[in-house]
C-alpha cells in the first residue's frame, strides 16, 4: 500500500495504481477533468502510464460553476 494526498486528503492506494485508474474510479466521464501531480499537469494522454507513488500530492479537478 501507498499513501498519497488526493485533493488535500490522505488516501491509501494499492501499489502500482496509475492515474487513469485513480480518476476513472471517481468520475463518470473524463471530459472536463484535469490532473495535477506535485504541482505539475499530467496530460490525459499520460494518465495510463503514470504510476502513483507514495507521498504524491494529486489534484483531480473538474468543471465547476464560476466566473
Amino acid at each position: 500500500m501507498i499513501e498519497i494526498r488526493l485533493n488535500g486528503e490522505a488516501v491509501r492506494l494499492a501499489d502500482l495504481t496509475n492515474l487513469r485508474e485513480l480518476v476513472s474510479e471517481r468520475v463518470e466521464r473524463v471530459e472536463g477533468v484535469a490532473v495535477a501531480r506535485n504541482d505539475e499537469v499530467v496530460p490525459r494522454s499520460e494518465w495510463a502510464d503514470a504510476i502513483v507513488v507514495d507521498g504524491d500530492r494529486i489534484e483531480i479537478l473538474v468543471a465547476a460553476q464560476g466566473g
Partner: protein
C-alpha cells in the same frame, strides 16, 4: 457585425459566467435566454456529492466553455491552472484572473502581466480580467492578449461602471476587443458599456443572483444589443440648451 476574438467569430456580444446560479436548471434557462455563445467555467476539486454536469448543459445549448483561473493569486498558480484547464477542456482559450486583494477581488496587475506573457508564449489565447487602467490594458495588448477585459467595478458588486472615461480611453488605446468584465448590476450598465465602445460584456452575478435569472438574462441580451446599436447609430451631441424638435414655421396664430 460579429464579434471577432482571435480566430473566432461570435454572433452574441454577451459573454456570461456560470458562477452564482442556485442550480443547473436555473442556469440553463438563463443561459438560453441570454443568447450567449461563450461562457466561463472554473476548475475545482471534484465534489463527490455534486449532481448534474455543467459541461452537459453547455453542450446542450451549443455554448463554448471558456475556462478561467479564478482564485489564483500568483502568476505561477494562474499558469498552472491554465495548463490544467487546457487539458480538461481541450481548449487553448483562457480567461486569466490573478487576484491581488480578497476584499475587493481587484486584479494584481503585476502578476497578471507576467502570467499573460507566459501564457501567450505557450500559445494560449489569453483574455485577461484587468483593472480599468488604460496603461495596463496597453501592456496586456502589447504582450499579445487576444482581448482586454477591464472591470467596471469589483466582481459581484453590481456597482456598474465607476470610471466610464477610462473605459473609453482603453477602447482608444488598444486594437484588440475590449470586454467589460465585472461590476454590471443591471441592464443599463451593460448598455452603457457598449455605448462607451466596448465590443462585448462579460457578466455573471447580475444574472445568476437576480431574483429571476432568466428574465434578467433576457434584459442583458437586449441591453447589449441596444447599446451596440446606439453606439453605431451616431448619437446626437449633448447640449446644455434645448433644440426644438418641432418646427417654428407654420404655427397657428392663437390667443
Amino acid at each position: 457585425m460579429p464579434l471577432t476574438i482571435a480566430d473566432r467569430q461570435f454572433g452574441s456580444r454577451l459573454i456570461t459566467g456560470t458562477g452564482g446560479a442556485p442550480n443547473l436548471e436555473v442556469l440553463e434557462r438563463a443561459l438560453r435566454a441570454s443568447g450567449t455563445e461563450l461562457t466561463t467555467v472554473a476548475l475545482r476539486r471534484l465534489d463527490p456529492s455534486a449532481t448534474g454536469s455543467l459541461l452537459a448543459v453547455l453542450d446542450r445549448l451549443g455554448i463554448t466553455a471558456l475556462p478561467n483561473t479564478a482564485g489564483c493569486h500568483t502568476a505561477a498558480e494562474a499558469v498552472l491552472t491554465a495548463q490544467l484547464a487546457s487539458d480538461a477542456f481541450a481548449t487553448d482559450w483562457i480567461k486569466l484572473e490573478v487576484i491581488g486583494d480578497e476584499r475587493t477581488l481587484l486584479p494584481d496587475v503585476s502578476e497578471l502581466l507576467d502570467a499573460a506573457a507566459r501564457l501567450v508564449d505557450e500559445g494560449f489565447v489569453v483574455l485577461p480580467y484587468t483593472s480599468d487602467d488604460p496603461v495596463v490594458a496597453r501592456r496586456l495588448a502589447d504582450v499579445g492578449c487576444a482581448a482586454v477585459m477591464p472591470l467596471g467595478s469589483p466582481i459581484g458588486s453590481g456597482g456598474g461602471i465607476r470610471n466610464p472615461s477610462n473605459i473609453r480611453l482603453i477602447r482608444e488605446t488598444v486594437d484588440v476587443p475590449v470586454i467589460l468584465d465585472a461590476g454590471i448590476g443591471t441592464a443599463s450598465d451593460a448598455a452603457l458599456a457598449m455605448e462607451l465602445g466596448c465590443d462585448a460584456v462579460l457578466l455573471a452575478s447580475a444574472v445568476t443572483r437576480a431574483e429571476d435569472p432568466e428574465r434578467m438574462a433576457t434584459a442583458m441580451r437586449l441591453a447589449v444589443e441596444a447599446g451596440w446599436a446606439a453606439r453605431h447609430a451616431g448619437r446626437i451631441p449633448e447640449r446644455l440648451h434645448a433644440v426644438a424638435s418641432s418646427p417654428m414655421e407654420g404655427r397657428a396664430q392663437l390667443g
